[in-house]
């Protein structure tokens, strides 16, 4: 974030704090002898625009991420899942995500799905994410902030989305080409499509580290 952006934010009242629902899984929690905690691998924090929030990631995502030796977490921003509703739009939700990110034990990867990608994009403008992953992004501002600390950025979209204006705009803003996955953007939490998507993200992460 630029100094000017910080000065502006420090003069703006912070969003009302909420008790955030936060789910996490450590590699050791899987009770699998084969899986070892990898201290070099960054933790991963996920959020989604889906109203289920943190819980959406529990069945497949957290387990599979932890299975690669990473600390895996997800958070419900205000109004989602078990987190009470409170005032504030995009900015307040990005605030919730940053607040969750700093409680992760180490510098974390941010993964945002749908509207969650917009929160992650804003959060990465004020928290030095280890990497930023945008899955089928929605409502990302036209000029998202430059991610602080220069993390690698991944854009993953469903095949059907590749040509949409929204996806093009995000790809242009970050100067990257989208990766595609088979399936629907709403169907990312279970099933074969979801697993393929997740494996693509995890192998991208492993390559970047």
């Amino acid at each position: 974030m630029s100094l000017a952006a910080w000065v502006r934010r420090a003069r703006t009242p912070a969003p009302a704090p909420v008790a955030r629902e936060y789910a996490y899984l450590e590699p050791a929690d899987l009770f699998d002898m084969e899986i070892k905690d990898d201290p070099e691998a960054s933790p991963v924090l996920c959020c989604t625009g889906d109203p289920a929030g943190a819980a959406a990631f529990q069945a497949l995502w957290l387990k599979r991420i932890a299975g690669t030796g990473r600390y895996a977490a997800s958070v419900s921003v205000r109004g989602q899942g078990g987190t009470p509703a409170a005032d504030g739009g995009l900015e307040a939700r990005a605030h919730d995500l940053v607040q969750a990110a700093v409680t992760v034990p180490r510098q974390t990867v941010l993964i945002g799905h749908k509207e969650g990608a917009a929160w992650a994009a804003l959060a990465a403008g004020r928290y030095p994410a280890a990497a930023l992953v945008l899955v089928s992004p929605q409502k990302v501002p036209k000029e998202p902030p430059t991610p602080v600390g220069g993390p690698p950025v991944l854009l993953v979209v469903a095949e059907a989305e590749t040509q949409t204006k929204e996806v093009q705009a995000v790809a242009d803003a970050y100067g990257i080409a989208p990766l595609t996955f088979a399936g629907s953007p709403d169907d990312v939490f279970k099933g074969a499509g979801a697993e393929g998507l997740l494996d693509a993200i995890l192998s991208w992460l492993a390559r970047k580290e």
């Binding site: 100094l3 000065v7 420090a10 912070a14 409680t103 992760v104 034990p105 180490r106 600390g149």
Partner: protein, 449 residues
């Protein structure tokens, strides 16, 4: 790293040396590493957090120390404090926060504890040889670095006043940094000397714990409560700073009206304009003056056996005297000339308050008294220093232009008109941040193709 004999200096290549693992040192390590530098940080104590760690031998914390700057104005810009913390976190929370920062960014593995830097010597043009003071029985280690950042703090060497008869005084005399345990105040007749934040906070502690409390100040300061207009005071004032100029004066006056008239009622006549100096920020103080649990006096004239005489001729008989007379900067490892220190003064003269005027690869982090949260300022300082070191390596032409700019910024830097020597480190936060912003903009511009 292995042990190195005192003869051979180990060459650390392009790595940067950071001295001190207080808040400023930790932020420096984080920002340098984020920009791709290898970093070795040396800390003379066995713990991190600097003055916020009560286990640090030089910690100046006194009973019940809380921040005087509010959470949103104190937190590091890219690592906010938890939003369920109070507006004014305690010193223990501040340590928790700095420890979490170090853990989150994996800083500890770059810190060498129990390693005091005794000497920093320029070698081979722009490089430095750094001497780590030997621990008992070992040889001194010498290492060479491409750059050195000094983050050794300036609140650990007490500024001690002298008064006639002080040596023979029969009561106990402590500097504010030695007070530590609140039970030392209990049942005592206490005299607190010094009207800064330390003196004012300690007077309030004595007001509720001691048998009596007298507070000696040699002149009036601006007093602000911790809240103004229903908001943390520094936040409220920062917001006013964002308004159009013609409104600022009006809005500031409106915020300060209440505190100013209360101070006047208590007989406190502040010197100078409101923000020429760092204000005292304590909402409880006036209440204690108002209910008589703190008695204010002027300057101390002399000590006499069990008694203390003030300039106005009155005398009291305290059991315990707390000298809350502040600190003096002290640089033990580097030739003062490299920091632009002249003659007997302990105060450096740096470009933009951070760059050595003599060596391009030597900088100091955190040597400012901005009257607002220090950590954000150190964040932007070290951001600038890291980018400067990058530009210097990659684009010598731009680097030369940049030096000219920094020197110009330094010439425009007229410190706020404080009256006391301690104000040599004071900067007007808004002006200084604007100058840091210009410096960073120049450094981050795309290099000309």
């Amino acid at each position: 790293m292995q042990e190195y004999s005192s003869q051979a200096a180990y060459d650390r290549g392009e790595a940067v040396c950071v001295i001190g693992a207080g808040a400023a040192g930790l932020i420096a390590v984080k920002n340098l590493r984020e920009n791709g530098f290898e970093v070795d940080c040396y800390e003379r104590d066995t713990v991190l957090g600097g003055l916020w760690n009560p286990q640090n031998q030089h910690s100046p914390l006194y009973p019940n120390t809380h921040l005087v700057t509010s959470r949103s104005q104190t937190e590091i810009p890219d690592f906010p404090m938890p939003d369920d913390w109070p507006d004014y976190p305690s010193s223990a929370q501040m340590l928790t926060y700095l420890t979490a920062y170090a853990k989150h960014f994996g800083l500890s593995e770059h810190i060498w504890y129990g390693s005091e830097i005794s000497h920093v010597e320029p070698v081979e043009g722009s490089r430095f040889e750094v001497v780590v003071k030997p621990a008992a029985g070992n040889a001194a280690r010498r290492l060479r670095y491409a750059a050195v950042i000094i983050a050794t703090g300036h609140h650990w060497s007490p500024n001690l006043p002298s008064y006639p008869g002080l040596d023979q005084f029969r009561g106990t005399v402590l500097h504010s940094s030695q007070l530590k345990d609140p039970s030392r105040l209990r049942g005592k007749h206490v005299l607190v000397i010094g009207g800064g934040n330390s003196g004012t906070d300690i007077a309030c502690e004595a007001a509720v714990n001691a048998a009596s409390c007298t507070h000696s100040v040699r002149r009036g300061s601006w007093h602000l409560p911790k809240y103004l207009g229903g908001e943390p005071g520094d936040f409220a004032l920062a917001r006013v700073g964002g308004r159009p100029k013609f409104l600022r004066r009006f809005l500031t006056d409106r915020l300060l009206k209440g505190p100013a008239s209360l101070a006047a009622r208590m007989g406190i006549v502040p010197e100078g304009k409101p923000f020429a100096e760092e204000p005292v920020r304590n909402g409880r103080y006036m209440e204690h003056v108002g209910d008589g649990s703190i008695r204010r006096r002027g300057e101390v004239a002399r000590f006499d056996g069990f008694d203390v005489a003030f300039a106005d001729g009155t005398e009291i008989r305290p059991d315990l005297v707390v000298l809350a007379t502040g600190y003096r900067p002290k640089f033990t490892s580097v030739d003062p000339k490299l920091l632009g220190i002249q003659d007997e003064s302990p105060y450096p003269n740096l470009y933009a308050r951070m760059f050595s005027p003599k060596m391009e690869t030597l900088a100091v982090a955190g040597l400012v008294e901005p009257g607002v949260g220090v950590l954000p300022i150190v964040h932007w300082q070290t951001h600038a220093i890291a980018h400067w070191l990058l530009v210097r390596k990659s684009d010598p032409e731009r680097a030369a232009n940049f030096r000219v700019q920094v020197r110009t910024e330094a010439e425009q830097d007229t410190a706020p008109a404080g009256t006391s020597p301690r104000h040599r480190l004071a900067v007007d936060a808004a002006t200084y941040l604007a100058s840091l912003g210009r410096i960073i903009d120049t450094l981050e511009q795309e290099p000309a193709k």
